[in-house]
């Protein structure tokens, strides 16, 4: 059964976040903006006569009206229902008939729709995507049945997995007074109350050309695309769109410690997560040095040398419109307690703050990032996804194209300072501990022994 996929594909992209190969531009992305404010990015790739066509809206879970959690994602599902021109779920059916694939995804900061199609059908999917930017039609019974679908999706992704429920709690604790504390899929009790009107309220307010980015990657140039984009997206009028608000998270003045015990958790895990500034190359390098590969510090020290853990790593998510997170995590080796492992993580942080990182570590990390960036070119969707995330996070095209130059300037002192801003900041980190719960002692437990 292959019933789980996309989430991890995109998560992987984030972990590998770029780092390129010389002072020249990496993707040679071309851009222009239509009169109605639609920003267009073209990433030429002429290996095969295929394209990926994406529209990204600068509207995500964090932009929702309080009390309507999950509406951005619900609207994303409802966008496949139909318009007067393309009614009754014919959008996806048409894409399939053209030999294409389509889907959509929602995060805290964006909602994105895409179609991968043979080049010959680019204009057709563009016409349909432009059409549903403004002409959505929803019947009450479609909304009711789709609400059940998103509730089943929540049960599948979150409620059936203690680890995922725990992660929601971690984010809520980290982001006090900040919309990132509310899960994108929504809280179940609020999802149940979402209506057709709620969906239209958000659609009418946020879905507009001046609040969207069109990204096309593949066998096409900006010159070829421009007339097509003008024809289909050009006539849609610009409108006033609300300012995207991200309240500032409140300080974490007491040390939060979350513990979950569940019979379905097979292995203990300890994690420590800090709020961290977004878009910091130095933190990206620090995460790579601490925990990006099986030769990085945490794996080498805790797993290979001290044998305290079976796995260990670090994660920093640079792309975000507002604050983001820096995390360390580890799973204890047999016979090691999470308390021992927590102490060992603390020692690694102390060592880092005391001695910093070495030039050798930094250069190796930069080299890995640069080399891995070439692999982005060996893909149709990879660069388009990257640009979409970067632009909806409020960064510019150069944030991607110039990364090599920026990395070259980074020194070990920059890494040390970045480490201090996270690990010596005023806010406490959130410590999370997942523990297996032994089943109740049962004398008649069939199958407890082989």
């Amino acid at each position: 059964m292959r019933l789980l996929g996309s989430v991890f594909v995109f998560a992987f992209l984030v972990l590998l976040l770029p780092a390129p190969a010389a002072a020249e531009k990496i993707f040679n992305a071309q851009t222009f903006t239509l009169d109605n404010g639609l920003k267009v990015v073209v990433i030429p790739n002429h290996r095969a006569p295929v394209v990926t066509h994406m529209v990204w809206y600068k509207f995500g879970g964090a932009d929702e009206t309080p009390g309507k959690s999950g509406i951005a994602h619900f609207l994303e599902h409802l966008m496949f229902k139909g318009t007067p021109k393309v009614p009754d779920g014919q959008f996806s059916r048409t894409v399939k008939k053209l030999g294409g694939n389509d889907n959509a995804f929602t995060s805290q900061d964006f909602t994105a729709y895409y179609q991968n199609v043979p080049l010959a059908h680019l204009e057709k999917v563009m016409e349909m995507e432009a059409d549903r930017m403004k002409n959505l039609v929803l019947r009450e019974e479609e909304v009711a049945s789709e609400r059940q679908v998103i509730i089943e999706e929540r049960r599948l992704r979150v409620d059936s997995r203690p680890q995922a429920r725990f992660q929601e709690q971690m984010m809520s604790t980290l982001f006090i007074n900040h919309p990132y504390g509310v899960p994108v899929i929504g809280w179940l009790h609020e999802m149940r109350e979402l209506t057709r009107e709620d969906a239209f309220d958000q659609y009418n307010e946020w879905y507009a050309p001046n609040n969207a980015i069109l990204i096309v990657s593949g066998d096409v140039t900006a010159k070829e695309l421009e007339p097509m984009a003008k024809k289909h997206y050009g006539p849609i009028p610009a409108q006033t769109v609300p300012e995207r608000k991200r309240t500032r998270a409140a300080p974490i003045v007491a040390a939060p410690r979350l513990v979950m015990e569940d019979a379905r958790i097979g292995q203990p895990v300890i994690m420590k997560t800090w709020r961290a500034p977004r878009g910091e190359d130095a933190l990206d390098m620090l995460a790579e040095i601490l925990g990006g590969t099986s030769t990085s510090r945490l794996y080498k020290r805790l797993v290979v040398e001290r044998k305290l853990a079976v796995s260990a790593g670090a994660n920093y998510e640079p792309l975000s419109l507002s604050e983001t997170t820096f995390s360390l995590y580890a799973t204890p080796a047999p016979g090691v307690t999470v308390t021992d492992l927590e102490a060992a993580l603390g020692q690694e942080i102390a060592l880092l703050l005391d001695k910093g990182v070495t030039l050798e570590e930094l250069n190796a990390a930069k080299g890995r990032k640069r080399a891995n960036l070439t692999y982005y070119l060996d893909s149709l969707q990879g660069p388009a996804l990257l640009f979409g995330r970067v632009l909806t996070s409020g960064f510019g095209i150069d944030h991607v194209e110039n990364i090599v130059t920026r990395l070259e300037k980074l020194g070990i002192d920059d890494i040390g300072q970045a480490a201090a801003t996270v690990f010596k900041g005023e806010d406490f980190p959130v410590t999370g501990i997942l523990l297996p719960k032994a089943p109740p002692p049962a004398k008649d437990a069939k199958g407890a022994t082989p």
Partner: protein, 470 residues
């Protein structure tokens, strides 16, 4: 369960929840094609040492991908010790020759060389991806890994621990439990029923010698298939392949496995688990890849249960009734068995209704086949989308390796469209009647489904064993 090495080492049993959620789950679509004279220019040739290679050269990006396979796979695990092939797959890059574990890993990651292995049911797979500039180093490391793996005691313990952590994690995961329960029951008593990652008892007893024996028996030239794509010429590819594989023994030593038809036809199997949803997999006997009706079955399956909103199962169970987030059917062809399956999750109180609808759809397709319109649309997708599956060197090499394993020729990919186009409504009806037997489906559930009377109640996942208590 296929997991990348890095996830086993770094994430170990806990995958941080991502903020991204999709309109529906993405499944890998079947191989298909588009109207153009040649989909791919595949060269097929023998190296000086006699290994057949398929190659698609493309100099546009300085990347080379190679996918290869040794027939055998999990079936090569010694009796009572499932998990040997899995351990080999995660230990081959833990040091080889004079290069110890951390040094080997550094050579890979510092040069962005991606080397990975996976133990599958019928074959042991390898994948190598490198930048052109590191081609020679990548070749040397692969050759060492295949011929002189160190299997240091320390590394074995470390990767066993990581694998045990993964097994313990999996045993609480409803999606894994339903797959384990399904495979364990329908293939009961057969090598295909064994858990690929092994179990806690086998992890306690597998020795270094077991790992060495596995590599000696399985890695040979007579069961090897190799495909390459990317920035490499025919001469360079021949050199790479001979360097990497030329020193392997000529013959592998695989015990044959018997053919098996799925068991527990018509039965409901339940593994009770306290979750809000029931995970369900249903299945019955399928169709072999070399059957003359395979293409008709692919078209039929697309109409029945592809990820398309318009596929019948998706339309009836998700779109009309909101019973699930996603439902898919698939054809699985193995060397010694074949299945047609469908899988989904639904809330516990809806499980009975959802299985009822699924069986109706199964029966309807068997009785009436598909309409001309459905067949035309299915062919349009299957033939139109092949190029989309071939947009990276990794996709191309992996697709070609799959075709090699299926016994097809190097030109097949350029004939694929015309073969699909030949399928008629009568073909679809015939194959549907033959494959879709609603009353013979084995239904496996994990959860607390309401009003379901199970024929077989499991108290543990089949095939999983604990170590002997001392």
């Amino acid at each position: 369960m296929i997991r990348t090495l890095s996830s086993l080492r770094l994430i170990g049993g806990f995958i941080a929840a991502s903020a991204l959620i999709c309109a529906w789950l993405i499944t890998a679509p079947p191989v298909a094609a588009k109207e153009r004279a040649k989909i791919l220019d595949v060269k097929s040739f023998k190296t000086p040492s006699g290994i057949e290679v398929w190659l698609v050269s493309d100099k546009s990006i300085p990347v080379i991908s190679m996918n290869f396979s040794f027939e055998g796979g999990l079936a090569g695990d010694p009796a009572g010790k499932p998990g040997v092939a899995r351990l080999v797959s995660i230990l081959l890059d833990e040091g080889a020759g004079n290069i110890k574990s951390q040094e080997f890993q550094s050579k890979l990651s510092d040069n962005a060389i991606q080397l990975g292995f996976t133990a599958g049911r019928d074959a042991f797979y390898g994948q190598l991806r490198t930048l052109t500039q590191h081609r020679d180093l990548a070749t040397d490391l692969l050759q060492l890994a295949l011929t002189q793996p160190r299997f240091d005691t320390d590394a074995i313990e470390r990767m066993k621990n990581a694998n045990v952590a993964q097994i313990k994690h999996d045993m609480g995961d409803p999606a894994w439990l339903v797959a384990r329960s399904f495979n364990g029951m329908v293939f009961e008593g057969h090598a295909y029923a064994l858990p690929g990652a092994g179990h806690l008892a086998s992890m306690a007893t597998i020795t270094r010698q077991d790992l060495i024996d596995y590599t000696k028996a399985q890695f040979a030239r007579d069961n090897l298939k190799v495909a390459l794509a990317g920035d490499i010429t025919e001469a360079q590819a021949a050199q790479l392949v001979d360097k990497a594989f030329g020193a392997l023994p000529e013959k592998s030593d695989n015990a044959p496995i018997a053919f098996i038809l799925p068991k527990y036809a018509g039965k409901i199997v339940l593994y009770p688990l306290d979750t809000p949803q029931t995970q369900i997999t249903v299945g019955g006997a399928g169709i072999a890849r070399d059957d003359k009706d395979w293409d008709a079955a692919v078209v039929m399956n697309y109409i029945l249960g592809s990820g398309n909103f318009d596929a019948r199962l998706m339309r009836e169970i998700r779109e009309k009734r909101g019973l699930t987030y996603g439902i898919y059917s698939s054809l699985q062809s193995m060397r010694q068995s074949a299945l047609v399956t469908a899988g989904f999750a639904t809330s516990n109180d809806k499980a009975k209704e959802a299985v009822g609808v699924l069986k109706q759809e199964w029966q309807l397709m068997a009785d009436k086949g598909a309409s001309e319109q459905e067949i035309t649309d299915a062919k349009a997708y299957l033939t139109g989308s092949l190029l989309l599956e071939l947009t990276s060197t990794g996709d191309i090499a992996s697709t070609l390796n799959g075709l090699q394993r299926d016994g097809l020729d190097a030109e097949y990919i350029n004939r694929r469209n015309s073969e699909i186009t030949k399928v008629t409504a009568a073909d679809v009806r015939r194959v549907a009647r033959r494959l879709l037997k609603a009353e013979e489906l084995t239904v496996v559930m994990v959860g607390r489904p309401a009003d379901i009377k199970a024929d077989i109640l499991l108290d543990r996942p089949p095939g999983m064993k604990e170590p002997e208590k001392k």
